[in-house]
């Protein structure tokens, strides 16, 4: 199988870009899930989608829009009413979901090539993200596992909190490099490290 080429390849340079006092506030990295799949439920059929997520991925998503769950290798969250974004390090999950989600429950859309996932982690992650998005990133407002849909200028973004100070930002692949560069620029104030 041919490996996916990341849109960040020419600009993602690992290293430590610290502040003058050698500290770094955030770590930036690209997460490259093998599968990114969007699941959409027809009105009243959300339970069927949640059951499919449980069946295919073994993840329990507690509710609808906003709620979610994340492990080291897989995640799922509701980004809009009846709509969920799931990702896994393994490839081919769209096929598995196509079997699990019948036409009466909803639809399955493979976005494994269409979205780029950028992870921002560290004590200043909330601070840096707040430069881009009008979203309350504090943990009471956006608990671990939760996700939201938002936008930065023309860049649509879906963001999931995957740890106490860790967020995965899903952006359209074509915008990924531009967003990455903006993110690095915004992170200079707090110092950053690229993994």
């Amino acid at each position: 199988m041919v490996d996916q080429l990341s849109p960040l390849t020419p600009v993602l340079r690992s290293g430590r870009y610290a502040r003058d006092d050698h500290s770094v506030g955030v770590t930036l990295a690209e997460v490259q899930p093998g599968s990114i799949v969007q699941l959409s439920a027809w009105p009243g059929q959300q339970a069927g989608i949640l059951a499919a997520i449980r069946e295919v991925m073994g993840l329990f998503v507690p509710g609808g829009a906003g709620s979610g769950v994340a492990t080291e290798t897989k995640s799922a969250f509701g980004f809009a009413p009846g709509k969920f974004l799931v990702s896994d390090q393994e490839e081919g999950f769209s096929v598995a979901f196509a079997d699990a989600v019948g036409p009466d429950a909803g639809t399955v859309t493979d976005l494994s090539h269409g979205r780029t996932v950028i992870r921002i982690a560290g004590p200043k992650a909330e601070w840096v993200l707040a430069k881009f998005f009008a979203v309350d990133f504090s943990e009471p407002a956006l608990a671990v596992g939760s996700g939201i849909s938002t936008v930065h200028h023309d860049i649509f973004a879906q963001i999931q909190r995957t740890g106490a100070d860790q967020f995965d930002v899903y952006v359209f692949r074509s915008f990924a490099r531009s967003f990455w560069n903006s993110l690095r620029h915004a992170s200079e104030e707090v110092g950053y490290e690229v993994e």
Partner: protein, 992 residues
């Protein structure tokens, strides 16, 4: 020691010195100094020239209300004008210059304007230069001639023309309670709110938090108020639920308790850390706003009240207490209230000589008299200052008897030698933000001031903002505003028992200019002149005189101006009313609003093969947000030579183009086919799985929205493609229809534009090339007929291939996962090499589609119907569709509508999109347009310049001659109108 720096006192760091320059002269100050305090400490009293009359001006205030002392900061080649010296913290290497003067601040030729007298009064330019036509001097032209000189002679600082190299950022924040202002009331509110567990942001516009606690002589909780404030700030800063923002001006109050603020992050630093912005713009969504913004002391309006050395009493007190600066050696005080007595005493205790306290009131309170006695000053009640003397600095005042009830002056003037006159005309609560939030100000007779209303939605006030001037009450209000309920937790205070309620005296009339609005040089006589000329509404007064319209937004002039207007009208102040304050409360740097968008105003959108294009010599240009190859030029080729070669090679052999930018929407669900039947003019429910169809989409008004092919991938799964330009618009249109018009349809829409990389491979050898590299499927005519879809692999990567053509040649679109896009593209390039395959850009793509007569966004311009584009064959009569109700609307079927035609250049000169087409050529008076060019190129297959156009009744004009009329580009010449199908109209090549 600086001439005006006290030997002790103040909150500055005397252990360190800072060097800075003002107008090229080097000065020193200390950390904690503002430019104003440092210059005053150095004995500099002349800081600027006034707006219109170029009168010498000093410092009037000590904070954000300063109207006079505006300077320009020089940062390398960048310059930032109109910065208040009172808000500018000094740092090593700071360079500032004065402004609105020539050749120098001390010797300003513009000062000749002072001789203009009444000629330069309010609205002088309207009256003087808008006159009737007299000989060659037409009024308006004369004004335009004079305007240049007037604008040079009047104004504030000049903005630089070099790019601002500073870095700005934006920040979003959310909190339960935002406290604006960190005086005692604000600190108490923040403390109470924070201790109850709420998320608190405390914003203070000054560098040092504490507000009046920093310069008052009162105590809180048994310690000096300043110490209490510093300890409280430290306590707040340690709390995890509190964010303290010093140097942050809250400048806008918007709907939904959305607050705009500007933080001056590194304006005070000589060398910001790497990545630190100069300023940060905050957008704060707030549960409750506590407005603890205090009050501004008002000047009194009297002749010569603008002379350097005349300043607000509280400002002088602050310079002494906070900066250890004595604003004069011999100081007089002019007041209409008790508050100035406290200022006088503070200055006396700091080491100043208080010569006299002049009170317009005949009787003063016992505490005021007792305080005055302690200052050692002569007490002159029932008196007023009626003139000041001095050039660039004050040296004498004239005092006469004054009747506060009638405003009458009597007796001979008495001269008193002073170098500083402090004035206090009462206090105006800073209600600007509440006003922005919609609060209607209420006049308070006792305080002679506008106060905020008691009931408010979203905010609560505390302290001076409410007109509450006692420390005890301010703390209590702050505590309550922060949600505190147990009054036993309030700290004890001790304060001076002085009532700041003033006498209703705003102006002392006399000979000479008495300034109301210092920054715009509006005098009391200007206000009366406006009244005499019929401007009775306060809104009209403001606009005619420009009172309150300068950068300080009338902070010191608003109430005095209203009072003088009311007096002229014979009305009470509340009858006259007040104007509503608008954002911004304080000036906001444009750069801070742009923030990270500076230089990156639009994100770049890149196709999966972008890097290959760059590495292989493509010249790119932007198409919306996308960056697309224009040409893949060879060394020495012009653009035209390159696209002609690319198009010719494609028609003769094969070419490959990146079409990843086409909009792609997954339309899925059991009702997807039905939905497509409704949104397209033609039928899609009959489309078999594995086939594609060209579709046309109309708006509700019957005009063409977009076109493209839609592929049926499975029974309930369609892939819709749109034009690159209209992808977003089509998605919005479809989502609207699903959400609002047909919510019962089981259809989902997902943008999958970025999921797929698309390569269009066209030309007579394209099938051979695919056959050479595609595995897993055949690509012959039987397996892959026109509009057929097959699945296979190219060099190990899964691909989906649809046979369709935009160029008119045998052509295919090869879709792969975007992450495989470059891999597949390179495999196609390699496979095509033996067949003469070339990559081509948008110019060649455009050339071939013009030759073929296909339409794009240039023709689908929001004004054309399907018939106009000769696409009426796509309008189904078997079903309704969006826009079908408009198909027989008279205006949309009129015979003289613009219709798509082809254009041949008959003088062999290139054509241009946008050029008009006329029947008769008249270069001197272009007229009679019958249409316009939409696209043009050199056609390699026709060997001439051609184009497409929209022309009135175009189809009936085929074969007719006309002319290009393009006066902007000076292109005139003969053309022939022909069919838009220049090349292979039967479509034999693409069906071959």
């Amino acid at each position: 020691m600086s001439p005006r720096r006290a030997t002790s006192g103040g909150l500055i760091d005397r252990s360190r010195s800072i060097r800075f320059t003002f107008d090229g002269q080097e000065f020193t100050g200390h950390p904690g100094d503002t430019l104003a305090s440092a210059l005053l400490a150095n004995g500099v009293t002349l800081l600027g020239r006034s707006f219109k009359y170029h009168r010498p001006r000093g410092v009037l205030a000590a904070g954000v209300d300063e109207p006079n002392a505006l300077v320009t900061i020089l940062r390398g080649e960048a310059r930032e004008p109109n910065i208040q010296a009172t808000m500018l913290e000094i740092y090593d290497g700071l360079k500032v210059v004065s402004q609105n003067r020539f050749p120098s601040l001390g010797m300003d030729v513009g000062a000749v304007n002072q001789l203009g007298g009444k000629v330069l009064g309010a609205g002088f330019y309207y009256k003087t230069f808008m006159g009737p036509v007299i000989g060659p001097l037409k009024g308006t032209r004369f004004w335009m001639f004079c305007e240049h000189f007037i604008r040079r002679a009047a104004g504030l600082g000049k903005a630089g023309t070099m790019a601002d190299p500073s870095r700005y950022e934006r920040m979003n924040a959310f909190c339960d309670v935002l406290v604006v202002g960190s005086g005692p009331a604000g600190l108490m509110a923040a403390k109470a709110a924070a201790e109850s567990g709420q998320r608190v942001i405390l914003a203070e516009q000054d560098a040092r938090l504490g507000g009046s606690a920093n310069w008052c002589d009162e105590t809180i909780d048994g310690q000096p108020a300043g110490d209490w404030a510093a300890a409280t700030v430290r306590e707040l800063a340690r709390m995890s639920n509190v964010r303290v923002l010093p140097r942050t001006s809250v400048w806008g109050y918007y709907d939904g308790n959305t607050i705009a603020a500007l933080e001056r992050v590194t304006d005070h630093k000589a060398s910001p850390r790497r990545g630190e912005p100069r300023q940060r713009h905050w957008t704060i969504r707030v549960g409750k706003v506590v407005l603890a913004t205090g009050a501004f002391e008002r000047p009194l309006v009297f002749p010569g009240n603008d002379r350097p050395g005349v300043m607000l009493a509280s400002a002088a007190e602050r310079y002494a207490a906070e900066y250890g600066v004595l604003p004069g050696e011999k100081i007089a005080v002019l007041t209409n209230n008790d508050g100035a007595y406290r200022s006088a005493l503070a200055l006396r205790e700091a080491g100043c000589h208080i010569v006299a306290i002049i009170d317009v009131r005949a009787d003063i309170s016992q505490p005021a008299r007792a305080t005055a006695v302690r200052t050692g000053a002569e007490i002159l009640t029932g008196r007023a200052v009626t003139a000041t003397e001095g050039g660039k600095k004050l040296h004498c005042i004239k005092v006469q008897a004054f009747d506060a009830a009638t405003g009458q002056i009597s007796g001979d003037p008495r001269s008193i030698d002073v170098d500083c006159l402090l004035m206090s005309g009462g206090w105006s609560p800073v209600i600007n933000l509440a006003s922005q939030a919609g609060a209607k100000a209420e006049w308070n007779e006792r305080l002679q001031a506008f106060l905020p209303p008691k009931d408010a939605d979203g905010w609560i006030g505390a302290g001076g903002f409410n007109g509450t001037f006692s420390l005890d009450a301010a703390l209590s209000e702050g505590f309550a505003a922060g949600g505190g309920t147990d009054a036993g937790l309030l700290p004890a205070t001790s304060s001076v028992d002085l009532d700041i309620a003033p006498a209703g005296v705003f102006e002392i009339t006399g000979k000479g200019k008495a300034f109301v609005d210092f920054q715009h040089d509006v005098t009391s006589e200007d206000v009366r002149l406006a009244h005499r000329e019929g401007f009775q509404s306060v809104e009209h007064l403001k606009r005619y005189t420009t009172l309150g319209m300068a950068t300080d937004q009338g902070k010191t002039s608003n109430v005095p101006g209203l009072a003088i207007m009311a007096n002229a009208l014979g009305k009470q102040i509340p009858e006259v009313g007040t104007t509503r304050f608008r954002p911004p409360f304080a000036p906001v740097t444009i750069g801070a609003l742009a923030a990270e968008r500076y230089g990156e105003i639009r994100p770049e959108r890149l196709t999966p093969m972008h890097d290959w294009h760059v590495e292989n010599g493509a010249t790119l240009y932007s198409a919306g947000l996308w960056h697309r190859p224009m040409i893949f030029g060879l060394p020495g080729e012009t653009v035209e030579q390159a696209y002609v070669r690319e198009a010719r090679t494609t028609r003769e052999a094969a070419g490959i183009a990146d079409v990843s930018t086409l909009g792609k929407i997954a339309v899925q669900g059991p009702d997807a086919a039905d939905f497509l039947d409704r949104v397209y003019t033609n039928m899609f429910s009959t489309l078999p799985v594995g086939k594609a169809r060209y579709g046309l989409m109309l708006r509700e008004d019957g005009l063409v929205l977009d076109d493209g092919t839609t592929w049926r991938l499975a029974e309930h799964d369609f892939l819709m493609t749109t034009t690159t330009a209209n992808a977003g618009k089509v998605m919005q249109h479809l989502e609207y229809l699903l959400d609002v018009i047909w919510p019962d349809l089981k259809v989902t829409l997902t943008s999958v534009t970025d999921q797929w990389a698309g390569a269009s491979i066209a030309g007579p050898r394209s099938r051979d090339i695919l056959a050479a590299c595609v595995t897993g499927t055949k690509v012959d005519n039987e397996t892959l007929p026109f509009m057929g879809i097959v699945y296979g692999e190219i060099d190990g990567a899964p691909v989906m291939i649809c046979r369709l053509s935009f160029s008119g040649e045998l052509a295919y679109e090869v879709y792969s996962g975007a992450g495989h896009g470059t891999h597949v593209w390179e495999a196609l390039i390699a496979a095509g090499k033996p067949f003469g395959l070339v990559p081509y850009g948008l110019e060649a793509l455009g050339t071939m589609r013009i030759e073929k007569g296909h339409v794009t966004g240039a023709e689908i311009d929001g004004r054309v119907t399907a018939r106009d584009l000769h696409l009426d064959w796509m309008l189904s009569k078997k079903k309704p569709f969006v826009g079908s109700m408009m198909m027989i609307r008279e205006g949309l079927v009129a015979p003289d509508r613009l219709q798509l035609v082809g254009i041949l250049s008959r003088d062999n000169i290139p054509l241009n999109g946008g050029a008009h087409i006329v029947e008769e050529l008249d270069q001197d008076n272009p007229h009679g347009s019958i249409g316009h060019m939409t696209a043009a190129c050199y056609s390699p297959v026709l060997g001439q310049y051609i184009g497409l156009a929209l022309v009135k009744a175009g189809k009936s004009r085929h074969g007719q001659r006309a002319f290009i009329s393009d006066p902007l580009r000076k292109r005139f010449g003969p053309i022939e109108i022909v069919s838009n199908h220049f090349y292979d109209p039967e479509g034999k090549r693409m069906h071959g």
